[in-house]
């Protein structure tokens, strides 16, 4: 056990049991999975992505590239989770990734011997030949050999939710800078949201011995938290990572609501995505430590120096028993002091500086650590963990030093990502040896403390207090300057160590990218950082190169002889840390992705045994199979014949309905429809088509004039939202002076078509003898209001037909009343398929014909374009090209051999012409088996179609092996004179 006897922010009285690779361990509340495993002496956490090299813990935060595990089991199994941010809970199950058969003995480690096969860009080169091997051999092999964790193969049982927050000041990060900022802003009375990814507030204060206002940092953080909780307008979100900055002060954050529990409580989401809209933002995201590239820098036991201090102070864990510290300045020596304070033996300190300041040298002497001034690391040794560091001293000699922990203080990377999400590029600062936030920040944002390259504690506190009160003031909450929390330790010279030559020096641990790969990219011309990144995959793993990314830039800068400023860095994009797709989807999942709309008559249809089909957002009855019917066509044909010979009823509630009121309603309709509507008498209906301004048909429907100033127009089901928006544009933008108001009433009315020779009897029975619905009183294209009901004598089927509408709440009752009224006539419910067959038999255009590429003329409706008024689409519909008779135009088609089945999509060619593109003259748009005619019929668009009635053409459908001769006929198969609908 390597748990220290005292200290740490852990609850030693409580024991949590957990397992790693099936073996049981215990830890304490306050532990992460990484700290608990380290406390149990576990150093080997996983195998690397390409070479299956053993890997341990590098960091103590979300930047972790190595210690990635699969968490939980079964449907909740989640891959690539950094053990360093996984809060320990009782019963936690974790397993290592990318090892076979076991973590300690990994056969795939042979990949390391094959590493010449896996250089940068290997998938572009090594596995190119023979081409046929790619899918069968190479890809499965690579997928087996390389990779990370496995995702669960079952649906996620947990829920995720989205929530919104609005605030004056958003403070990102609750380290010293963020706490000071939140306190200053909170005291002003501003609405403040403080987010931190960690479980508790404090950031580096939780890991360092420094005091603030005379208290230990962690204690001060607690007292600030109490003060913030006393501010009514301050909201603290822990376990919450702000992962994206978007336009106009919008930020996205992920709150891990239940990730620290075995599973969420009933009704509790697993995670919550917050959309935060902030007037001002203080970014205090801190800095993460930088890896150093030296041979064998990936071996378990190599750890960032600050992480070592964090494990010692926060988790009371000694991550090693004999330590070598690689230092470039104060940061490394702070680590030496921390190790000494916690009684961990330091074997050696390698200081890159030739001259080591006397206080540091004295510390080394006092604790008996060998000091290598001006030394570097030549290699590391160890099989599954570090046991020896080979030091090259200033004179060039190599000295082996036994050690199981190598603490690396390579400098810091300020966490500027959120400051760059709107496109700003980080700026290299030579003095601080780091990329700093761009000159142009997201509007309203300021950057405080280490994220801005100001690393000293006093500096961070001052920065936070100043920027916090400044942000509140800018948001309208000026306040008296609040006292700046006091601390010792001010700005210190930033130090940086980059590269120490040698092989197997990793610059990206998670993707196994080495300095050799960067050199290869340079040799092959991929020198711009964005090219280098994509060629080597450097910085493209889930850690996004937080600890190692800048090393690749440094290596490329060295190779090209350019400065870091000229080399630059890659663009930062959201998310800052990985976000599960489930969290982004939130509640919009499965059926909830798009809600289903049911008509008021849905339950009745279900009772009648309807099969339903999705039609746009709606669920519509497709047909009503009866006992003994085995085939859908059987049911549909029966329904069609019932309408043609008796009477049927169909739910048409899904058609779009727009109600218009006002003296200029007719004028607006004249403008949006091609034909004149304003002349329509009260109590009449007219068919109309709408064009887009480019002259093509947008939609068709009917306009009914219920009263002098009240109209209701219908749209197709699919185009209802679009037609409403189109009419609103026509009114608000193009004709704002028209006195008319309109609104969608699609959901307000249930509507049923009653069609067939006996339809009038049914309507008469429905309305009762007080209402006269005789042909004389209520002729074809009449409309009227009968009590609560609206009645329209319109027909899509070509039969004597009515549509009757009731307020939606009465829709269920109405369909039952209609069926009751029609019982004597044997009324038959019919569905969407029969509706479609009926309209194809009549040649009415629908979805296949109203496809956005047809003109009114193409549909045989050219005479509906008024010559006497302006309307949308009028000018461009008259373009010569759109008047060309050779345009595909609506025709009817019947198979020459009546047994032939026709299919929509077949191309129309001249009879006997070979199937080549120059012979293509159109296509079949809709087909139906007509039970009335006992053969298949079709509608199609055929070049010069109206002039070719009687001609036989070829319907060629190579996709479905269709090739038939069809005769061109008028696009109306039943009752061309319309006698039935006027009957």
């Amino acid at each position: 056990m390597t748990r220290l006897r005292s200290g740490g922010l852990i609850d030693r009285d409580t024991h949590l049991r957990f397992s790693f690779d099936g073996r049981g361990y215990t830890g304490h509340p306050g532990d992460t999975l990484a700290s608990a495993l380290l406390a149990n002496g576990v150093r080997l956490f996983g195998r690397s992505f390409k070479y299956h090299r053993p890997r341990g813990v590098l960091s103590a935060g979300p930047e972790e590239p190595n210690a990635l595990v699969e968490l939980r089991n079964g449907a909740r199994r989640e891959p690539n989770i950094p053990a360093t941010v996984t809060e320990l809970f009782d019963g936690l199950e974790a397993s290592s990734q990318n090892r076979f058969p076991s973590l300690r003995f990994d056969l795939m480690a042979a990949n390391a011997l094959l590493s010449p096969l896996f250089p940068a860009g290997f998938y572009y080169k090594t596995f190119m030949w023979p081409a046929s091997w790619w899918e069968r051999v190479y890809e499965p092999l690579i997928r087996r050999a390389a990779g990370l964790g496995r995702a669960a193969a079952m649906p996620d049982p947990d829920g995720y939710e989205h929530a919104h927050l609005f605030c004056d000041v958003l403070v990102i990060g609750a380290g010293p800078a963020g706490l000071a900022a939140a306190l200053a802003a909170g005291r002003s009375g501003a609405r403040v949201v403080l987010c931190d990814a960690d479980t508790r507030l404090g950031g580096t204060l939780l890991a360092e011995p420094d005091e603030v206002d005379g208290q230990p940092g962690a204690v001060w953080a607690q007292s600030v938290e109490r003060m913030l909780r006393d501010c009514a307008e301050v909201r603290i979100l822990t376990r919450t990572t702000v992962f994206g900055a978007y336009d106009h002060g919008t930020y996205a954050a992920l709150e891990r609501v239940a990730d620290h529990k075995p599973h969420p409580a009933p009704g509790e989401p697993r995670q919550r995505v917050w959309r935060i809209v902030a007037k001002r933002v203080v970014l205090g995201a801190g800095a993460v430590e930088r890896l150093v590239a030296f041979p064998g820098n990936d071996r378990p036991g190599v750890m960032l120096a600050g992480a070592v201090r964090c494990y010692l102070a926060r988790y009371a864990v000694a991550p090693g028993g004999s330590v070598v510290v690689l230092s470039g300045g104060a940061e490394g020596w702070r680590t030496v002091a921390a190790l000494a304070r916690h009684g961990v033996p330091v074997a050696a300190v390698i200081d890159r500086r030739g001259e080591v300041p006397e206080p540091d040298a004295a510390l080394a002497r006092r604790i008996g650590a060998r000091l290598f001034a001006g030394g570097r690391i030549a290699a590391t040794r160890g099989s599954t963990g570090l046991h020896e560091v080979i030091v090259r001293d200033a004179t060039g000699g190599t000295i082996p030093v036994a050690a199981d922990l190598l603490a690396v203080a390579g400098g810091h990377n300020p966490q500027v990502q959120l400051a760059c999400h709107l496109g700003g590029r980080p700026v290299w600062d030579e003095d601080r040896a780091a990329f700093l936030p761009p000159a142009t920040l997201p509007p309203g944002m300021t950057v405080a403390g280490a994220a801005a390259g100001r690393y000293g504690l006093a500096e961070c506190l001052r920065d936070g207090a100043t920027l916090g009160s400044g942000a509140a003031a800018a948001a309208g909450f000026p306040n008296a300057p609040s006292p700046v929390p006091r601390a010792a330790g001010d700005a210190e010279a930033a130090t940086s160590i980059w590269l120490m030559p040698g092989r197997k020096s990793f610059v990206d641990l998670q993707h196994d990218v080495t300095t050799d790969d960067i050199a290869l990219a340079h040799r092959e011309g991929f020198r711009a950082v964005e090219h280098m990144k994509r060629y080597t995959t450097h910085g493209m793993a889930t850690d996004q190169g937080k600890s190692g990314g800048v090393l690749g830039m440094a290596m490329m800068a060295t190779l090209t002889g350019r400065t870091m400023a000229d080399t630059g860095t890659t663009l930062h994009r959201p998310p800052y840390t990985p976000v599960a797709i489930g969290a982004l989807a939130g509640a919009h999942r499965g059926r909830h992705f798009r809600p289903i709309r049911r008509t008021p008559g849905h339950d009745w249809a279900a009772e009648q045994g309807a099969s339903f089909i999705e039609s746009g957002p709606w669920l519509r009855a497709q047909w009503f199979a009866r006992a003994g019917e085995t085939d859908w066509l059987q049911s549909v044909s029966r329904e069609v014949l019932a309408v043609r010979s008796g009477v049927g009823v169909s739910d048409v509630s899904t058609l779009g309905k727009i109600e218009l009121v006002g003296p200029d309603a007719g004028a607006l309709l004249d403008f949006v429809y091609t034909n004149t509507m304003s002349t329509l008498p009260v109590g009449r209906v007219r068919y109309g088509i709408m064009l887009r301004e480019d002259g093509f048909v947008l939609d068709d429907g009917t306009a009914a004039r219920l009263e002098a100033d009240r109209w209701v127009v219908t749209t197709t089901t699919a185009n209802a939202p679009r037609v409403l928006a189109h009419m609103e544009f026509a009114h608000q933008v193009l004709r704002p002076s028209l006195r008319v108001a309109f609104v969608s009433v699609t959901d307000r009315w249930a509507q049923y078509a009653v069609a067939g020779p006996h339809a009038r009897d049914v309507i008469a029975a429905l309305l009762g003898v007080v209402h006269d619905v005789s042909d004389a009183a209520f002729p074809y294209m009449a409309c009227g209001t009968f009590g609560d009901l609206r009645l329209f004598r319109i027909s899509f089927s070509g039969e004597l037909a009515y549509e009757v509408a009731a307020p939606a709440r009465d829709g269920d009752a109405l369909i039952r009343r209609i069926v009751q009224a029609g019982s004597a006539q044997g009324i038959v419910p019919y569905g969407l398929e029969a509706l479609s067959v009926l309209r194809v038999e009549k040649g009415h255009p629908a979805g296949g014909e109203l496809n956005g590429q047809t003109t009114a003329r193409d549909l045989g409706l050219g005479r509906m374009l008024s010559q006497r008024k302006d309307f949308i689409g009028r000018a461009l519909a008259r373009r010569p090209a759109l008047l060309d008779p050779m345009r595909p135009t609506l025709v009817g088609l019947v198979p020459v051999d009546k047994r032939t089945r026709l299919r929509a999509g077949a191309h129309l060619l001249p009879r006997g012409a070979p199937p080549r593109i120059e012979h293509d003259q159109g296509w079949i748009t809709s087909v139906a088996f007509s039970p009335t005619l006992s053969h298949w019929i079709a509608l199609g668009l055929l070049a010069n179609g109206p002039a070719r009635h009687g001609e036989v053409v070829r319907a060629y459908d190579p996709v479905r092996s269709g090739d038939a001769e069809v005769q061109v006929v008028a696009p109306c198969f039943i009752d061309p004179d319309g006698g039935r609908l006027r009957g």
């Binding site: 978007y246 336009d247 106009h248 002060g249 919008t250 959309r275 809209v277 509007p443 301004e693 480019d694 939202p721 928006a725 609103e728 544009f729 608000q732 933008v733 193009l734 704002p736 302006d870 009028r874 000018a875 461009l876 373009r879």
Partner: protein, 83 residues
């Protein structure tokens, strides 16, 4: 993005649908074919402020003219298109 609707206040852009440039003016009915072609098909592509139509479909259902810098998304004005 946040769009300052003159009727509803500042709202998230998901509440709106986008149409395109608001500057072209619909020609008179008897205008030439060339003028109609310009109106329907030709659009400027400025690197800077663009006046464009946004429809507050999930709000007041008014068409707005929004002046937006397409390089930065900075919105300098949003007025009702019929105003």
């Amino acid at each position: 993005m946040r769009i300052p609707c003159p009727h509803c206040g500042e709202r998230a852009s998901e509440e709106f649908s986008y149409l395109g440039a608001a500057d072209p003016v619909r020609p008179a009915a008897d205008a030439s074919a060339a003028e109609w072609h310009d109106y329907v098909y030709l659009r400027d592509n400025p690197a800077g402020v663009m006046r464009e139509f946004w429809h507050h479909v999930h709000g007041c259902r008014r068409w707005l003219v929004v002046a937006r810098d397409v390089r930065t998304h900075a919105i300098s004005a949003a007025v009702d298109a019929g105003a």
